[in-house]
């Protein structure tokens, strides 16, 4: 299903999400198209619903290929960093923060998209994955690069609604699977 159809098919109990999604995606004024679709892709990948990821990638494919690749890279590498660094900040023993992570993350340097865009996508993925330290660090980097809070909030808003849509789709797919079993 394409993204519009997927959103349209969201159940009645998720009407707020349906409306939020369509206005955030279709009436977007704060993010550039690459920022918007990269955020949608990164958030969808991070939220781990198959249908939503497929729809997001299909819709985003009109963007430059390096945008889509880089957005996927952001979600991929945040999938790792959000776990590792969330741990180091959750645990009371501060020693972990000074141990070398020994995790390759070279794509953060070689992603090929704009620096600001990539940081936005990382922030969105980190928001979905719930790593406080990561969210803090990426937000700070964005502001240093001159990005306003409004733009960051716009990206996180999308991450929030995409994530919510993913949970609803998971639930609906579970129901459908049980019905056809």
């Amino acid at each position: 299903m394409n993204l519009d159809a997927l959103v349209e098919a969201l159940p009645a109990y998720a009407k707020d999400l349906k409306l939020n999604l369509s206005s955030l995606v279709r009436n977007q004024t704060e993010l550039t198209p690459s920022q918007l679709w990269g955020t949608v892709v990164a958030s969808a990948v991070a939220s781990r619903n198959r249908e939503l990821t497929q729809a997001a990638l299909a819709e985003a494919s009109v963007q430059a290929p390096e945008v889509v690749e880089a957005a996927k890279s952001a979600a991929a590498i945040m999938g790792m960093n959000n776990i590792y660094y969330r741990f180091t900040h959750l645990v009371s023993n501060e020693k972990y923060r000074s141990l070398p992570a020994r995790l390759r993350m070279n794509v953060m340097r070689s992603h090929g998209a704009s620096e600001v865009d990539f940081e936005l996508w990382c922030t969105a993925a980190s928001a979905v994955n719930g790593c406080a330290a990561c969210v803090d660090a990426h937000e700070r980097t964005l502001r240093e690069k001159g990005v306003t809070e409004e733009v960051v909030a716009a990206a996180v808003r999308i991450a929030a609604v995409i994530h919510a849509a993913a949970t609803v789709l998971d639930a609906e797919q579970a129901v459908a699977a049980a019905a056809s079993a």
Partner: protein, 179 residues
């Protein structure tokens, strides 16, 4: 001996790349493989005992080095024809996936400072050179002691693993700026 932080020397050498006489020889210079990491490893003499096991071991790990954007280049002070004969002769070297440099004038090994003073041939030296041509790792064994290519791979991994994520920022530190 040239060490970490120094520029790998300028060179232009014949190299043997296969067992087919028609296609075996090429010329390689320090400017080839731009943008890649380079793993140079030298051995004393072709046709001796320790060398083939090491070289074949590097060959088996070649795809791992490739995945890490690294090119493996073997070398000794033997000529390109001796390299060819050795590759043709030894079962483990027939399909070696990387070139053997022929430093027959000993200029590269001399500049590197890895010639054994008594024997005049290369010691078992290994260099990891970054895409900017800077030496980032060097190790040298005496003539009779073989190397562990897995260890070289480990070092390459470590050299390539940078904590680029601002997530690692500690209060009070300057922020990371990915290049």
């Amino acid at each position: 001996m040239l060490g970490v932080g120094e520029e790998f020397p300028v060179y232009s050498l014949k190299a043997t790349v296969s067992t087919d006489l028609k296609k075996a020889f090429t010329t390689l210079t320090h400017q080839d493989f731009a943008g890649k990491w380079k793993v140079y490893f030298f051995w004393p003499k072709d046709f001796t005992f320790v060398c083939p096991t090491e070289i074949a071991a590097f060959g088996k790990l070649n795809s791992e080095f490739e995945s890490r954007d690294a090119v493996v280049l073997g070398g000794s002070t033997d000529s390109e024809f001796v390299h060819l004969a050795w590759r043709q002769h030894h079962e483990d070297l027939k399909n070696l996936p990387f070139p053997m440099l022929a430093d027959i004038k000993r200029e590269l090994c001399e500049t590197l400072g890895i010639l054994d003073a008594k024997e005049g041939v290369a010691l078992r030296a290994t260099y990891i050179v970054d895409p900017q041509g800077i030496i980032r790792y060097v190790s040298v064994n005496d003539l009779s002691v073989g190397r562990n290519p897995q260890e070289i791979l480990r070092v390459l991994d470590a050299l390539q693993t940078d904590e680029l994520c601002p997530c690692n920022w500690q209060k009070g530190q300057a922020t990371l700026h990915p290049a």
